[in-house]
Structures are given as structure tokens and as C-alpha cells.
């Protein structure tokens, strides 16, 4: 029932949308001639005439020609460069055959290598890159969601300039002229009044351009600011090692891991790689195997805490104290390298304060670490002060973990200023600044509140240029705004913290003429018509030469080792420079000095003295994805809240405050005030409140505006990670928070089954025992024979699933699953085919364990949904898939009623429309968002049932390939979207008839069980029960 506007193909912008991959220059006559040959009858001329409105069908028909035309015509603004496909597509733009390109996406100073699937020039899906050391083929939530940002209908679509209090559209020429004027103006004063502000960058070319700009404008200054920074880790490393190098942890080899506030599987840099390696120690397939152990000390329940064998809830400010005591305990147990540190810690004022610290747990933890020297890890949280990082480095070195489980990367960007100090410095001398160039970011929204950057920016006489994807809060206060190219639209390069360097390849020409910061900087550095591709290539010229030389030396043939060949190889594989190992040596003296300067002693938390912990949102991050529908509707992994953030408190705190879920709290510290709804999270630290950044945007776009609460007003320069001394006042009004899962307990049912390692050893088949015997009554209908052909099955290992939810968005992106909005989620109508159930386990509501369980369609062999469908719209395939025939579905919803897993989803309304707030009716669907759809999956209309298909389109794709080669589909050839995204490889998919397949073997593992087997559904998905490995010494300990 949507009204669809015909697609308007504007020749000014239309052709430039499509970037052909093999471009030649051709004159317009040549173009016409070619087009005539392609489509006789002057089709192309009609198509390109500005008045012509084409239907969708003819648009698709014409788009390949348009792409060709655009290619031949040449790009509007700059020459084109070659980008290389990853592996599968020998020829580009075969209609209907997607290409895959390796590229990289920034994670602050870190980078995540990805492979992007592009359908006819439209990037539609992001997957991990197996050849990138930060990805191992998997991704996080944000990587899955960021392709949506490309098609965000609210992206800035043209430059703009300030007029009065608002922004008015400007042309590219006007902006270029303004920039040129700025350059020539500041050439005179050597850049004295010129400042740059950019988010933390991981780009070597960006850094090179920055240095070149500073050469030309020696008096100018570069500032760095990101709301989520790595200042603590960076300064901690400088404290310990004397240089900004970053630790990398090998959890695969760590038998005992202690996390001190580190959400290393969730929000910390490198979480994807961490997850991949951490799962090695958890994924045991027999009771005799060795299993690693994880201790987590943290204030907020994180997904890392959910994986812990022992979890200690401790407010963020007390973790430093805990670390000090841990050092002393380790020293007392004779860990050589820590004796001097332990001694001096004892002598510091305040000494070793053990108040409120669980000594028994600490002692067992220390024993465990000492017993596993050289194969353990102590990991500091990104939100912990530099001293904690330094202490942890010292512990790891003293325990002999260096170069075993603990490694450091190369020195990264020594010249960069720490983000927090840098923004403060900018704020303090902004009065004397004439021109401020902001290359991305949104400081007006997320800079420390005490700097009042918004007011400073509005000063008369300051010329500010803001390059951003959206006309956001900062753009609104800038003199000029320029659209920023999406990562999938611009050339660039990115270096991960371990030194892995990749080239960021564009898949599509900028949809809205977005600018590339590298090129802007290059123009400031004096380059005429800068070209990002060439600049990037130039950055790595030396490295390429060196590599060529070294390859030749070890005897590679010269043709494959040319600089060009290596460059192309780097583009193809997604990694230009492999990870590098740095070296570090811990200098204890500096750490002691720093510890002496800061007392770990502070007023204990109470009803009058709350601590507030800030953490990024798993999907929205610092607010940069605040208009991303997938991110907005992604349930928080722990609270399962969607479309909002909340002030997370412990059950005990809620009792002390007398508040219920959703009741508003007024948090105040000095002048600063934030009002946020309370949400009780079992296992949260007491008198501690966790606030999530990234919400409460006012200029995010149609979807994100006004969603959640902006907590930045409480975040000041002296408390960027956590802050205490906060007063909390419960208000009478309540706010409606919406969850996708409202019941938190399993009510004693065998659902997400787990056992301790000890129990597993005693009874290796505990899981099948506890999941009740499968029904022995004969089936009602004749059984289908699956022994021939393929028998698709899935295995989900609950021991390695962290609940990070990357799979949820992966599934959403792959299968064109709509987001439905907060009101509809409240009605229980969310559409995620794959959901992650989260249960709290244990009797102590202050200290529960968490159990997570990804749930998709179980593809039951005796599917209850199939018998009851009156129109045969859901039927069984010969390979055992429970197929959904959308065309046939009438929408009686009987199938969903009869599904014991409730994994079926119904299109109650036209979810692909846009909800018109005035009438509550669904109207137009933004055209740009249609570009994201996966053409291999039907976009469902209202009134139709849908559900997980085991990614049947991927199965069919593999079948086509196998048939052409006249062979069976190999194990591993089909990777479902969820399986692909999973950092811990918790999901396996394949043919159960192939006894050698991974999934067949996993299905036989003794801790495997079928969910609700007693209903007699005979599901194809096997769950492997989770095994916990608590310290036997802490038996009976919480």
C-alpha cells in the first residue's frame, strides 16, 4: 500500500552514482554510439534527458547501461581508479552476479578488515575478511550495520553554509571557493589562526597529509577528538613502555584470563579477533579436554562478564584498588617481577585498601595466575585509568606472558595528541582561532560538557568548516558544511593497532558528492586536484618497494613481486601490510611514580555518592550510527532494550532509591544534570549507574532524532570514563522502555542448558539427559527419508556464543528484514529472524550468571507449523528445510501459534513503509534504502509470515556452482549470514549426511541437545550445552 515515486534519474547526478570498474575515457559521441548499439532506438538519450521518469523496471534495465555510460563519460569530479574484487568474480558487473571486495572499516585507531558484497554496483552486505588479522573472517555489530549508513536517507546531500541561524544549501563550487579562500588567507599567517579537528584516525595517509599541512602551515595545529578514545590504553602504554604501543592478547593460549573492567569481547578494540581466539579455550568437544577460565571484575554486566566463570561486580573506580591488591597478592606469592612494585604499592599513601573486595576470590584468582605463569592474561579495561593499564602490563610481564599470550604492536602515530587533552586545548584557545576545519565527528554533541564547545563555535568571526555524513549538531553551528564520503565511497588506508594495514576501497561513487578528508587535507597541503587513491598509494610507496626487494631476495619471481603486483594483492586480500610485532619493556619506576601521584582512595559509594560509568552503545557507538535503523532496533545484549538507552542500576540500588524500571532519575553533578529512565540490571555494581553514549541526538535524522537520552552533559573532562560524586534523585514520572525479551528467567525449564566442567566430566551426556527424552510415540504422518542427498543442519555452541548480536544484524542485512520501530517492538512485533535470548541464572539477583542462546528457525523435521497451514504456504523441502512460500501465504498466523520456538515473524503492517507520525500510517519508503536490498531475497509485503531459511539463497548459490562442476556441495562452501558474522564461530552449518562435515561432527558431540525435543519436533539445529569452568577452590562461592 505504499505510494512509490518513480525513480528520477538525474543526468547531473545519476551517472556519477555508478562507478564502473574498468573505466576508459571516451568522448560523448563514442558514448552515444555505444549506447545505440546496446539499446537501439535512442533509449539512452531518452533515459538521460532530465524530464524522463522511468519505472523501476526500466531503471534496472537501464542501470547497467547507465553504469557503462557513466564509466565511459568519466567521473564528474576526478579520474577513476581501479579497485579489485576479492576473489569470486572474474568479470565485473555481470548482472545478477555479486562481486566481493575487500576493504576496511575504522574502529577508532583500530581497523577491521571486511569483505563487501556488491550487487550491480550497490554494496549490500558486509562480511568479515579471513585474511585480516583483526577480523579472522568475522565482524562486530557495527560492521554489519554500517552498510545501512551508506543508504541513510538523511545523509547530507550537498554542501551548506550558514545563513542566519540555519544552514542553506550551497553548491560544490561555492564550498571549493570558500576553502580556497581559507587556504590563501592562512598562507599569509602561516596558519596561525588555523585549526583542524578530526576524530581519532587510523589512516597512515591521513597522518602523512596532516604532517604535510603542518609543514605548509607551521603555526596551525591539529586537534584530535573522539568521544570514545583510547587515551587510557595509549597513556598506560607510554607509562609502562615509554611509547604508544598497543597490547594484543592471545586468548587462545591463555589458560587463565583476568579482565579488570575490560569488555574485550564486546566494546574494546580488537573484540572480533579476541572473540575468535578466546573461543579456542571454551569450545571443548569432550569432557577430557582442557578448558580456559575467565575471571571478570566489572561494574556493568557486559557480554564478557556473561562469559565469565567468576564475575565480581565492582564499581569502576574500585577496579584500580583491586588491581593494586592483586599486584600485592601476586608479589606475596613470589612472582619475581612484581616484588618491587608490590613493596612500593604498600608504602603509598592509602596503601592497599581491601575494603569491599572479595578476598577469597582475589586469592583464588592470584593462585590461578601464579599456577599458570606464561599462559595467563590480565586485561585492563579501556575505561580504566592509564595506571591500571600500566600495572596490568607489569603483571603480564612479571608472569612471563610477554611474547606468549601477551604481545605489543608497533608504535602508532607518536605525534598524535591524546584526544581529551587535545579537545580541551582547542576549546581553551578557540577564541583566538580564525578558521576551524572539522573533518568529521560531532564535537558539539559529544565533546566534554564543561568545554561548552557549542557556544564557542557560534562565535562571530570564526569560520568553521564541518565535513560530516549528516547535517548534525555540529554542522548546525558551523559556517560551512560539506558532506563526508562514506567509507564505502572513498579511497583511504587504515592501520590496525597491531600494524595490519589495509586499503579502504570504494565500492560506489559518492551518492551525494561526499568529500574525502584526505583530499581536503591534500588541498590544504597545496596539491592541485588531489586524488585519494594516488595519495594512498604514495603513502605506501616505500613499503611496497621494500616488500618488492625482500620478496626478490627470498626468490619470488619478479613479475609477481612488482610494487604494482603487491599493491593489487593487497587490494585483493584486504591486507597490504601484515601485523607487526613491536617490543616493549616495562619500566616499573615510572608506574610507581604515577601511582604515587594519584590516590586510589576515594569516598565510598553510597546513596549520597553515586558513581556513573559511561560506555559506548554496542550498536550506536558514540552516536555516529544514531540514525541507523538496524542499530536502533538491535536489542542491547544484556538489557534487551531497543530504541532507547537507560540508566542501568543494580537491584539493591533500586531498592535503596525506591525506583522501578522506567522511573526517571535525575543525575546531577554540580551544574550538570541528566534525566534518564532507570533500568535494573541484575549483577550491576551497587551505587553505580551505567549510562550509554550515543543517544538523545537532536540532528541525527528522521529515525534517530530524540531517541534515548543524551548523557553527554554529565561527561566532563575530569570524568570521561566514570565519575563519582553524582547525586541521584528519583523522579515521579516514568518513561516507557521497550525490550524484545521481557521475561528473564528460564523458570526451571531445560532451555539454555549449562553445566560446570566438573559436572560435565561426571556425566558427559548431561545435556541430552536434561533436555528430556525425545518423544518415542510414532509420528502421525509418513516420515520423509533424508538419507539421500543433502540434509542441512546447524549447530550452535552455547559455550562460545557471547551474545554480541553481530549475527542479528548480519541476518537482517542479508535477508532484507525490516526494523519496525519502538511502538511495534513493544507490541512484540519485531521481525528479527535470529534473536538472541538472554536469561539470568542463579538465585542471587545481585549476582546472577547470564546464559545466552541464539534462536533461529530450528527447521524441524516434524515441523508443527507445516501441518497447520491451510494453504500449504510452509512446506518441507526434500533436504529438510522448512520452506516459506511467501506468494502462497495468506497470513492466518496459525503456523506461528504452533511454533514452540516462536521464531516465526509476521508482517502485521507494511514494515517497509515509513511510519507517518501524524496519522500512524505507513507511507513512502525512501528510495535510497531500496538500494541496500539483497536482490536474492524477496522483500516481503504486509500480511505475510516469514522466518529464518538457513539462508536458502546461499545454499542455492552453492548448489548452482556445484552443479556446474558436477560435484556435491563441499563442507564449508555454504556459510550462512549469522555463521559468517560470528566472531567466536559458535555457529556451524552444513550437510548432516556428510559424516565428515563440521556440523555433523558437532551434532554428535555429547553435550549436544535439541531444544524442546520433548515436543517431538525433531529440530535440525543442535545446541551444544554451555560448559562453565569455575575454580574448584571457590566451590559454593558466588
Amino acid at each position: 500500500m505504499t505510494r512509490r515515486k518513480p525513480y528520477e534519474l538525474n543526468p547531473g547526478k545519476g551517472p556519477s552514482m555508478w562507478r564502473s570498474l574498468d573505466e576508459k575515457n571516451a568522448d560523448p559521441e563514442e558514448l552515444d554510439r555505444l549506447a545505440e548499439e546496446e539499446q537501439p532506438g535512442g533509449f539512452i538519450t531518452d533515459l538521460l534527458s532530465p524530464k524522463v521518469l522511468v519505472s523501476r523496471r526500466s531503471f534496472v534495465q537501464g542501470s547497467s547501461i547507465a553504469a557503462l555510460a557513466a564509466g565511459l563519460q568519466g567521473c564528474v569530479r576526478r579520474p577513476e581508479n581501479e579497485i579489485l574484487p576479492y576473489s569470486k568474480s572474474p568479470e565485473h558487473l555481470v548482472p545478477g552476479v555479486p562481486s566481493h571486495f575487500a576493504t576496511v572499516t575504522a574502529r577508532g585507531r583500530d581497523a577491521l578488515g571486511v569483505v563487501v558484497t556488491s550487487h550491480d554496483g550497490r554494496p549490500t552486505k558486509v562480511e568479515g575478511n579471513t585474511q585480516h588479522a583483526r577480523s579472522y573472517g568475522a565482524t562486530d555489530v557495527r560492521a554489519q550495520a554500517y552498510v545501512w549508513d551508506l543508504y541513510d536517507p538523511d545523509r547530507s546531500q550537498s554542501p551548506a553554509r550558514r545563513k542566519g541561524n540555519g544552514l542553506v544549501d550551497a553548491t560544490d563550487e561555492e564550498l571549493d571557493k570558500a576553502l580556497k579562500d581559507l587556504i590563501s588567507k592562512h598562507e599569509k599567517d602561516q596558519g596561525a589562526g588555523l585549526r583542524f579537528l578530526a576524530p581519532i584516525s587510523n589512516s597512515p595517509t591521513f597522518r602523512r597529509m596532516r604532517d604535510k599541512v603542518l609543514e605548509r602551515f607551521p603555526k596551525a595545529r591539529f586537534h584530535t577528538y573522539s568521544a570514545i578514545d583510547d587515551d587510557n590504553a595509549r597513556e598506560g602504554a607510554i607509562l609502562a613502555f615509554g611509547a604508544p604501543i598497543y597490547a594484543s592478547y592471545d586468548f587462545a593460549r591463555s589458560a587463565v584470563t583476568v579482565s579488570l573492567g575490560a569488555d574485550f569481547l564486546g566494546l574494546e578494540p580488537g573484540a572480533v579477533a579476541n572473540g575468535y581466539r578466546f573461543a579456542y579455550g571454551r569450545r571443548i568437544v569432550s569432557a577430557r579436554e582442557y578448558m580456559s577460565r575467565l575471571y571478570v571484575v566489572e561494574p556493568t554486566y557486559t557480554i564478557t562478564g556473561g562469559m565469565a566463570d567468576h564475575r565480581l561486580r565492582l564499581s569502576a573506580g574500585d577496579i584500580e584498588r583491586f588491581t593494586r591488591v592483586l599486584v600485592a597478592e601476586l608479589a606475596r606469592r613470589g612472582v619475581g617481577g612484581l616484588s618491587s612494585l608490590g613493596d612500593s604499592l604498600g608504602k603509598l599513601p592509602g596503601g592497599l585498601d581491601v575494603e569491599g573486595i572479595d578476598r577469597e576470590l582475589l586469592g583464588a584468582m592470584a593462585d590461578d595466575l601464579v599456577a599458570n605463569q606464561g599462559r595467563c592474561l590480565v586485561v585492563p579495561g579501556a575505561g580504566q585509568p592509564p595506571r591500571v593499564h600500566a600495572l596490568c602490563h607489569a603483571i603480564n610481564y612479571a608472569l612471563g606472558n610477554a611474547n606468549k599470550t601477551f604481545g605489543v604492536g608497533p608504535i602508532i602515530d607518536q605525534k598524535d595528541e591524546p584526544s581529551r587533552k587535545s579537545i580541551a586545548a582547542l576549546a581553551s584557545d578557540l577564541d583566538s582561532v580564525q578558521s576551524l576545519i572539522m573533518l568529521g565527528g560531532n564535537p558539539v554533541y559529544d565533546a566534554p560538557a564543561d568545554l561548552k564547545l557549542g557556544e564557542l563555535l557560534s562565535r562571530e568571526g570564526l569560520t568553521s568548516v564541518h565535513v560530516a555524513s549528516h547535517r548534525n549538531e555540529t554542522s548546525e553551528r558551523s559556517t560551512w558544511h560539506a558532506p563526508l564520503a562514506h567509507e564505502l565511497e572513498a579511497w583511504g588506508d587504515q592501520q590496525a593497532l597491531d600494524g595490519t594495514t589495509s586499503v579502504q576501497q570504494p565500492m560506489i561513487a559518492p551518492l551525494y558528492g561526499g568529500r574525502n578528508p584526505i583530499e581536503i587535507l591534500a588541498s590544504f597541503a597545496g596539491e592541485e586536484n588531489p586524488n585519494a587513491h594516488d595519495l594512498v598509494r604514495e603513502t605506501h610507496q616505500e613499503a611496497l618497494k621494500a616488500m618488492t626487494a625482500s620478496f626478490l631476495m627470498v626468490g619470488f619471481p619478479p613479475d609477481g613481486t612488482s610494487a604494482d603486483g603487491i599493491w593489487r594483492g593487497g587490494l585483493h586480500n584486504g591486507t597490504l601490510i601484515q601485523p607487526q610485532r613491536g617490543d616493549g619493556k616495562v619500566v616499573v619506576g615510572r608506574i610507581v611514580e604515577a601511582l604515587g601521584a594519584a590516590s586510589a582512595k576515594r569516598a565510598s559509594l553510597s546513596r549520597e555518592n553515586f558513581e556513573v560509568v559511561f560506555q559506548p552503545d554496542p550498536a550506536l557507538w558514540d552516536g555516529q550510527h544514531a540514525n541507523n535503523l538496524w542499530a536502533l532496533e538491535l536489542p542491547d545484549p544484556i538489557t534487551k532494550i531497543v530504541w532507547d538507552n537507560a540508566a542501568l542500576i543494580s537491584p539493591a540500588t533500586s531498592k535503596a532509591l525506591g525506583v522501578k524500571n522506567g522511573q526517571m532519575l535525575r543525575l546531577s553533578k554540580g551544574e550538570a544534570k541528566v534525566e534518564a529512565p532507570a533500568w535494573i540490571v541484575p549483577g550491576h555494581a551497587d551505587y553505580c549507574i551505567t549510562l550509554t553514549l550515543g543517544w538523545g541526538r537532536t540532528a541525527a535524522g528522521r529515525y534517530g532524532n530524540g531517541k534515548g537520552v543524551d548523557v553527554n552533559p554529565l561527561r566532563t573532562t575530569d570524568g570521561m570514563d566514570f565519575t563519582d560524586g553524582v547525586k541521584v534523585e528519583p523522579l515521579s514520572e516514568t518513561y516507557n522502555l521497550v525490550q524484545t525479551q521481557t521475561h528473564n528467567r528460564m523458570e526451571g525449564r531445560p532451555i539454555a542448558i549449562d553445566a560446570t566442567l566438573e559436572e560435565y566430566r561426571e556425566d558427559p551426556s548431561f545435556a541430552s539427559y536434561r533436555s528430556v527424552d525425545p518423544v518415542s510415540t510414532p509420528p502421525l504422518w509418513e516420515q520423509q527419508d533424508y538419507s539421500e542427498g543433502y540434509k542441512w543442519g546447524m549447530a550452535i555452541d552455547l559455550a562460545s556464543c557471547t551474545g554480541c548480536s553481530a549475527c542479528v544484524i548480519a541476518c537482517q542485512a542479508e535477508n532484507n528484514i525490516p526494523s519496525v520501530g519502538k511502538i511495534e517492538v513493544e507490541r512484540g512485533r519485531e521481525m528479527h529472524w535470529l534473536r538472541i535470548d538472554r536469561y539470568f541464572v542463579g538465585d542471587d539477583e545481585n549476582n546472577p550468571e547470564v546464559a545466552v542462546q541464539p534462536l533461529t528457525c530450528q527447521q524441524c523435521e516434524e515441523a508443527p507449523c507445516e501441518n497447520v497451514c491451510p494453504v500449504n504456504a510452509t512446506v518441507h523441502s526434500p533436504e529438510g528445510l522448512n520452506d516459506m512460500v511467501y506468494n502462497r501465504c495468506v497470513g492466518t498466523r496459525y503456523c506461528a501459534n504452533n511454533c514452540p520456538y516462536k521464531v516465526r515473524r509476521f508482517n502485521y503492517l507494511d514494515w517497509h513503509g515509513h511510519l507517518d507520525d501524524r496519522f500512524g500510517w505507513y507511507t513512502d519508503f525512501p528510495e535510497s534504502r531500496k538500494l541496500q536490498f539483497n536482490p536474492n531475497v524477496t522483500v516481503r509485503m504486509r500480511g505475510v509470515m516469514e522466518k529464518c531459511t538457513y539462508c536458502v539463497q546461499r545454499i542455492e548459490k552453492a548448489r548452482v556452482a556445484a552443479k556446474r562442476e558436477d560435484r556435491r556441495i563441499q563442507d564449508g562452501e555454504i556459510v550462512t549470514a549469522c555463521q559468517q558474522a560470528c566472531p567466536t564461530q559458535a555457529i556451524a552449518f552444513g550437510d548432516l549426511n556428510d559424516s565428515e562435515s563440521v556440523v555433523a561432527k558437532l551434532a554428535e558431540v555429547n553435550r549436544g541437545y535439541k531444544l524442546l525435543a520433548e515436543v517431538g519436533t525433531r529440530p535440525r539445529t543442535t545446541f551444544l550445552a554451555r560448559i562453565r569452568n569455575p575454580n574448584p577452590k571457590l566451590k559454593g562461592h558466588g
Partner: protein, 486 residues
């Protein structure tokens, strides 16, 4: 038809007051269609048509937006829609029961209410049939549910109880309409014969199918009526049994129960009688039918309701017994937590949040009818009016309890939800009353609402041996004078 005279020795009397003549019957019943409609009729009719208009608006909005305008959600994929469907279908049971089964059992007292109840059946089944048709996500494809030959060679799924529903309900509707119509033929002929203008004559004449009251006509008529009663009787049992299969054949705890078919049939008869009672009491007073629908009829109906209430109460109790006896934790949860509320608390110590629906159901369906143990209550019009309305409310709750409180917390706590109806839910349900009463009021206005011919058959004078009987009576003067057959 039975011509047995009442056995006075045990206190039986004629159904109609002694002295009622056949002419009285004809005048009273045919008069309703001939005289100007009373003001009460107009008021009710205008109100009903307005409510029907509301339904039209609600349906238009529903079709424009989708099923999402109702409160249905995940996991409660069925809610008011199917509740209303089962409720209306249940109500439609009394008609056939009264016409067919009581006819076969020679229960003469049915004659005063059977036409009425049959009409109610037809209209209730129409209202019921509306819901499955509109509850689908894409109602324009509803025809997929019928086994129509098509180029795709696709048939409906004959394993699906919803498919069976289509057959059961449509058969039931067809048979009910035919049965009703066949019974109407002699009465249409009476109206035709009494017509004073051409339009009436033509219209009633058309429907009377040339009935002349010949012996042969009567012979065929009686035989056809008997056959249709025979066909309808199993339908009374089958329709609601099939409807109950929608639930009984599923795996949902609270639905998956073998007791459902008899339980549903008993409940259906129960609710059908209750609605017949409610409407009867209203029409009786609006159209002054006290002479034909007597307290004796009402007393008998109340006894029937008491009996079915006991059956339903037994089913309620048995469900709990089975939940306990099966040791099925999911089943126990549904009965003890979702329905009873306090029988099983969740880990936070909370009652099942929809407990009140269960209590509403038990109070109205089991406790309220117990009042009919007392003769005084059975013969008191206000009490039976209130009780019958309460029973209908209770029976609506029964279906709501079965559907919603089973679905909203089933196997996996992660998928548990809650149900809140929307305004459109309410308006759609309300609207079906508009449809029902509009049709019903048209019926009472234009069609003989009581079977004239059959009622006459219960008059003493209808007995072929009336004179012989009377001559044997000790006080012959008390019997009514014989009336020639029309």
C-alpha cells in the same frame, strides 16, 4: 410432530395457555410482519445499523493498514479475532440443536423458539465466518483456502484444521440456511395468503414456492424436514468439534487436549441457549409474545443451561486434573500460572498477569448458572436475563482464556509476551453485533419469527383424536374447541 397430550396426572399442561386458538397464533405472529413496526423496533434497528456502520469503518481501516491495527502480536498471533469467531460459532449452535436434535427427540416445547433460534444460528454463523476471512494478513487471497482448481495445481493443505474449519463452517451455514428456509415455507404461504398488497403477495409468494397446504405438500414437507433434521444433528456435534481441532491438534500447551471436542460442543450449546434466551426475552416483551413463549418454555431452557453449565464445569476441572496428572511442566504452567494465577508463581513471585480472565470465565459459566437449581430463579425473567447475559460474557472469556492465556506464555520464556486489545479490536467485535442485530431485526420484522404451523401443532385441537380424548375426560369443557387445519 408429536400430538401427545400432556399427562395431567404428573402436572403437565399444554405448552400454550388453554383456550389459545389457531387464529390467535396466526394473528399474533403474522401480525408482527403486517402491522407497523413498534417504536422499539425502529430504535433498535437504527442503533444496529449505526453499529454496523462502525464495523464497516473498522474493516476499511483494517484492510487499508493490515492486521497490525489489532492488538495481535508475537506470541499472541490470535486474539480477539479467533475468540470472536469461536464465540459466534458457539452461539450458532443453539439453533440447530433446538431445531434438529430437539425435533428428533420430539421435544414439543421447541416449537415456540426454534425459528428464532435457527435465524440466530444463521446470523451468528455469518458473524463468525467474517472473522476467519478478515483475520488473515492478505484477505484478498482468502480464496486460497478453498479447493479451487487452478493453473498451479495447488490444493489447500488437507492436514490443516483450519482447512477443516472452512468445510465445517460452510457446510453448517448451508445446512442451517436450508433447514431454516424449508421450515419457513408453510409460514411464508400463510403470509402470502394474508397479503393485502401486490408486493407482499409477490415476494412472499416467491418464497412460498407455490405452497398450497395440500396433504401431499405436508407429506413431502414433513419428510424433508425430518431428513434435514437428521443431517443437521451430526453437524451440531461436528462443527464445534472441528473448531476445537484448531486448538486440540496443535502443540501449544493449553490447546493440546483431547477433551476439547465435547467440551467445545457443550460450551457452544450453553452459549447458544444463553443468547437465544437473551434475545427471546427482549422480543417477547417488545412484540408481546407472552402467550406463545411462556414461562414454561423459559424454565425448560434454563434447565438446559444448568445442565450444560455442569458439563462445561466438568471440562474445566478435568483440564486441571490432566495438567497435574500428565506432569507436563508446560501444561501445568499454562493452567496454574497463566489461568489460575497463583497455582504456580514465576521466579519473581508474580501471579500470571491474565488470571482475572479465568476467574471471569469460571464465575460466569459455572457459578452463575447454579442459580437455576432454584425454581424461583428459573421462572424469574430478570434473573434469567442477567444470568444469560453473564453466561455469554463468560463464554466469550472462555474462548479468550483458551486462546490468549495459552499463547502469551508458552514454551520459551524468552518469547513470552502480553496482549493488549486496540480500539479497532473492540470496534470490530462491537461491529459484528451491528451486523447480527441488523439482520435479526430485519428477520423479526419481515419473517414469521415463530413457526406458525408448528406451534399450531402443539395446540390441543391439533390432536387428531381430540374428540375421543375429550370424551374420555372427566371435565370435557376445559379443552379448547377443535380448529380445522389450514
Amino acid at each position: 410432530m408429536s400430538y401427545d397430550a400432556p399427562i395431567k396426572e404428573i402436572g403437565e399442561t399444554y405448552l400454550l395457555p388453554e383456550g389459545t386458538t389457531a387464529n390467535d397464533v396466526t394473528e399474533t405472529i403474522a401480525g408482527v410482519t403486517e402491522n407497523p413496526a413498534p417504536r422499539g423496533w425502529w430504535l433498535l434497528f437504527l442503533a444496529s445499523v449505526s453499529v454496523l456502520g462502525i464495523m464497516g469503518a473498522a474493516l476499511a481501516y483494517l484492510f487499508y493498514q493490515g492486521v497490525g491495527v489489532w492488538g495481535n502480536n508475537a506470541p499472541v498471533y490470535w486474539a480477539w479475532d479467533i475468540t470472536n469467531f469461536v464465540w459466534w460459532i458457539g452461539i450458532g449452535h443453539a439453533g440447530t440443536l433446538i431445531s434438529a436434535i430437539l425435533f428428533l427427540f420430539r421435544q414439543k416445547w421447541r416449537t415456540s423458539i426454534n425459528r428464532f433460534a435457527e435465524a440466530m444460528t444463521v446470523f451468528a454463523v455469518l458473524c463468525a465466518g467474517l472473522f476467519p476471512a478478515i483475520h488473515t494478513g492478505r484477505p484478498w487471497f482468502d480464496y486460497y483456502l478453498f479447493p479451487l482448481p487452478n493453473q498451479m495445481d495447488m490444493w489447500p493443505n488437507f492436514k490443516s484444521p483450519l482447512m477443516w474449519d472452512v468445510f465445517a463452517v460452510s457446510t453448517y451455514l448451508t445446512i442451517s440456511v436450508i433447514f431454516w428456509y424449508v421450515g419457513l415455507i408453510p409460514d411464508f404461504a400463510t403470509l402470502r395468503d394474508r397479503s393485502k398488497n401486490l408486493t407482499r403477495k409477490r415476494v412472499y409468494g416467491f418464497f412460498a414456492l407455490g405452497w398450497r397446504g395440500a396433504h401431499r405438500h405436508w407429506q413431502h414437507y414433513e419428510r424433508a424436514y425430518l431428513i434435514f433434521a437428521g443431517i443437521s444433528t451430526p453437524l451440531v456435534l461436528s462443527v464445534h468439534s472441528v473448531v476445537s481441532f484448531d486448538f486440540a491438534t496443535s502443540v501449544v500447551p493449553g490447546w493440546h487436549t483431547t477433551i476439547f471436542p465435547p467440551y467445545f460442543v457443550a460450551g457452544a450449546v450453553f452459549s447458544g441457549f444463553a443468547l437465544v434466551m437473551t434475545l427471546m426475552l427482549i422480543c417477547r416483551s417488545v412484540f408481546k409474545l407472552h402467550g406463545i413463549v411462556t414461562i414454561k418454555h423459559l424454565d425448560l431452557m434454563n434447565k438446559f443451561m444448568l445442565g450444560t453449565a455442569l458439563l462445561v464445569g466438568y471440562a474445566y476441572a478435568m483440564e486441571f486434573f490432566i495438567a497435574w496428572y500428565s506432569s507436563n511442566p508446560y501444561e501445568q504452567w499454562v493452567f496454574l500460572h497463566n489461568r489460575l494465577g497463583w497455582g504456580m508463581l514465576d521466579s519473581k513471585g508474580n501471579w500470571g498477569p491474565l488470571w482475572w480472565a479465568y476467574y471471569a470465565m469460571v464465575s460466569c459459566n459455572v457459578i452463575v448458572p447454579q442459580i437455576f437449581w432454584f425454581k424461583r430463579a428459573r421462572t424469574s425473567v430478570p434473573i434469567m436475563l442477567i444470568a444469560s447475559v453473564l453466561i455469554n460474557i463468560g463464554m466469550w472469556f472462555e474462548r479468550f482464556v483458551i486462546i490468549v492465556t495459552s499463547l502469551y506464555q508458552d514454551f520459551l520464556p524468552s518469547s513470552w509476551g502480553m496482549f493488549h486489545p486496540t480500539l479497532i479490536d473492540v470496534l470490530t467485535y462491537l461491529g459484528t453485533f451491528g451486523l447480527f442485530f441488523t439482520l435479526f431485526l430485519l428477520f423479526v420484522r419481515w419473517v414469521p419469527m415463530i413457526a406458525i404451523a408448528e406451534v399450531k401443532g402443539t395446540l390441543p385441537g391439533a390432536h387428531p383424536d381430540i374428540h375421543a380424548l375429550e370424551s374420555r375426560q372427566e371435565e370435557p369443557g376445559t379443552a379448547a374447541a377443535p380448529v380445522p387445519a389450514e
